[in-house]
């Protein structure tokens, strides 16, 4: 193995690692706030990447139908609750949020697709389609189970992953797609050939991580999210609504997932089911970091990216096996260190 191969593999690993780091942060956030192990995170990646690729080829992505359908279902559930609780004054807000907003987004997409807008506008539209799916998903699948055990929530996550993956096949089909790179430029840094797209990925990840940090440190909603994560009961007692925090964390997770998908789609061919494996690698990064610390999770994710890139060089067929086996000794080490906390009886 020559030095430039090492450099090339490292670049590849860091680029993927940056994406995994973003996903790891989102997974950690969702878990800390809602105790949901967020398996469907991967679907946001696939939805965003495939939507972007479809829009570029002048087709209306099926995401709009998922958005409209999901919004309608969430609205139905909210309305049913409002009727049950005799709180019909909530109706306008429910309709605006879950029906009107999706309809407006869908209308803009329909209008925009044949006009082949600038790539940046298309990216914005993709975000507008995919990001609301997070809170909608929380409302439909998780909110009614907010008090359930981690294990029940995990099974729900698996079921939601199933549904979204199935929808993905229906709306995007079985073929893999790739979107146009943001830039075709390449730089020579010493002997290393750096693609501008890789730089974009790393740069965008860093900006996003910085923005998250600001949110948690500076805004009352960010602090409320952290408060919910460190002490759920305390958060309820000061009047932080658990459902709002759940939706907020899912919103951030779907945003991060969608951005990851947009960043990765010019580099990797994305299939309807690729998201799951990518999301899992973000997960392994989070676990390598101990499922508790954000910086460690990011470092763990970077390590996964590098490991994957180098093992694909030595034993390409076993790349996935190596990455996924790695987790076991780390988990063992973690569990030896941490005290066992018994799950409470329901």
């Amino acid at each position: 193995m020559t030095a430039d191969i090492v450099a090339w593999l490292a670049q590849d690993g860091i680029t993927n690692g940056a994406i995994y780091a973003l996903l790891a942060l989102a997974l950690l956030l969702v878990f800390a706030v809602t105790r949901v192990i967020f398996v469907p995170q991967g679907e946001f990646i696939a939805y965003a990447a495939l939507s972007l690729a479809l829009m570029e080829s002048g087709r209306v992505p099926g995401t709009v139908y998922i958005l409209l359908g999901g919004g309608a279902l969430a609205a139905a559930m909210e309305i049913a609750r409002a009727v049950r609780e005799h709180a019909l004054s909530r109706l306008p807000r429910i309709l605006a949020l879950y029906v009107l907003l999706p309809v407006v987004i869908a209308a803009i997409v329909w209008w925009a697709v044949p006009r082949k807008l600038d790539q940046w506008l298309q990216i914005l539209l993709v975000l507008a389609m995919v990001v609301p799916l997070g809170p909608i998903m929380y409302r439909i699948a998780y909110q009614p189970l907010a008090s359930a055990s981690v294990l029940v929530l995990f099974i729900v996550s698996m079921a939601v992953h199933y549904v979204l993956m199935g929808l993905s096949l229906v709306f995007f089909g079985g073929e893999g797609l790739r979107s146009r790179p943001f830039s075709d430029a390449h730089f020579k840094v010493g002997m290393l050939d750096v693609s501008a797209q890789s730089l974009w990925v790393v740069f965008a990840s860093m900006v996003l991580i910085g923005a998250l940090w600001l949110l948690f440190e500076r805004s009352i909603y960010g602090k409320a999210l952290r408060a919910t994560a460190v002490n759920r009961i305390g958060a309820r007692l000061v009047g932080i609504p658990a459902n709002l925090m759940g939706q907020l964390s899912f919103l951030l997770a779907s945003f991060i997932g969608a951005v990851s998908g947009i960043l990765i789609s010019p580099i990797t061919t994305i299939y309807y089911d690729t998201g799951f494996i990518i999301g899992l690698k973000g997960f392994i990064g989070a676990i390598l970091g101990g499922m508790a610390s954000y910086p460690l999770a990011a470092a763990g994710a970077l390590a996964v990216g590098l490991l994957e890139s180098f093992s694909s060089f030595w034993a390409s067929a076993y790349k996935e096996s190596i990455v996924f086996t790695l987790i076991i000794p780390v988990l063992a080490w973690l569990s030896l260190r941490s005290r066992h906390v018994e799950e409470e009886d329901e």
Binding site: K223, A224, N231, L237, V238, G239
Partner: protein, 242 residues
């Protein structure tokens, strides 16, 4: 006097086990009412139900309105506030952020007086001002209790539910905290005080209830309760002379 809180036949069950059985009690506006009784009698359960953390049967009216299935956050918004036995602070956040989050509902309403109220809490608890940048998890037992009280005050409560505020505090601190509680009444806050330190509780309360094995077995003016032989024997340590 009108009732801040009116509880009628409140029952709470964990699964099939009833922890609270048809408890009825009343907190008049601007008064301190205490509920005393041994561990496991159902005191914490009562507060949990009133705060909306536990499902209950029966009825609880707050400021004349049935609380029904009003969620916790809406109760906080209406001025009902619980300082739990375990304090439930945000250990990884600073003292000041803990206070700020106490006013979360007011932030949502864009209440402009939050800053002034933080200053007010610091005035009441100067020690918290010294530790404003420190993480709440590093505080001592007494400071935690001050922060828990301070955080609750940030919600501008009209009825405070206090669960064992003297728990785990050195006697000197117990006195301090109880004085502060007695002081709060002057600002118009009604207080429902749950205590195992019956002597101290009865000293600052106007009215008291004794709860045993999930049922209210005795009630009366605090002063009379303190002289009740049964209470003296069970909770005040007969003839200890303190």
């Amino acid at each position: 006097m009108s009732a801040s809180l009116e509880v009628r036949e409140l029952s709470v069950a964990y699964g099939k086990v009833e922890a609270l059985h048809r408890a009825s009690l009343r907190v008049s506006d601007g008064s301190i009412v205490t509920v005393i009784g041994p561990n496991g009698a159902g005191k914490t359960t009562l507060l949990g139900a009133l705060m909306g953390l536990l499902r209950y049967s029966g009825r609880a009216d707050y400021a004349g309105v049935d609380l029904g299935d009003v969620p916790v956050e809406a109760r906080v918004a209406r001025g009902l506030c619980l300082v739990p036995e375990r304090r439930e602070l945000f250990g990884e956040l600073t003292v000041e952020d803990n206070l700020r989050l106490g006013a979360f509902q007011r932030y949502r309403r864009a209440d402009p007086t939050i800053g002034a109220d933080i200053a007010g809490v610091y005035e009441r608890f100067p020690r918290l001002r010294e530790r404003r940048g420190q993480l709440a998890g590093t505080l001592s037992g007494g400071e935690r209790q001050m922060l828990a009280l301070g955080r609750a005050l940030m919600a501008k409560p009209r009825l405070l539910l206090l669960d064992e505020p003297s728990l785990g505090l050195a006697p000197r601190f117990v006195r301090e905290i109880l004085h502060i509680i007695a002081d709060l009444r002057k600002t118009g806050v009604s207080i429902l005080l749950v205590e195992q330190n019956a002597r101290a509780a009865l000293q600052i309360a106007d009215y008291g209830y004794v709860i045993e094995a999930g049922e209210i077995v005795l009630e009366g003016e605090a002063r009379q309760l303190a002289e009740n032989p049964r209470v003296i024997e069970s909770y005040l340590g007969g003839g200890s002379g303190a």
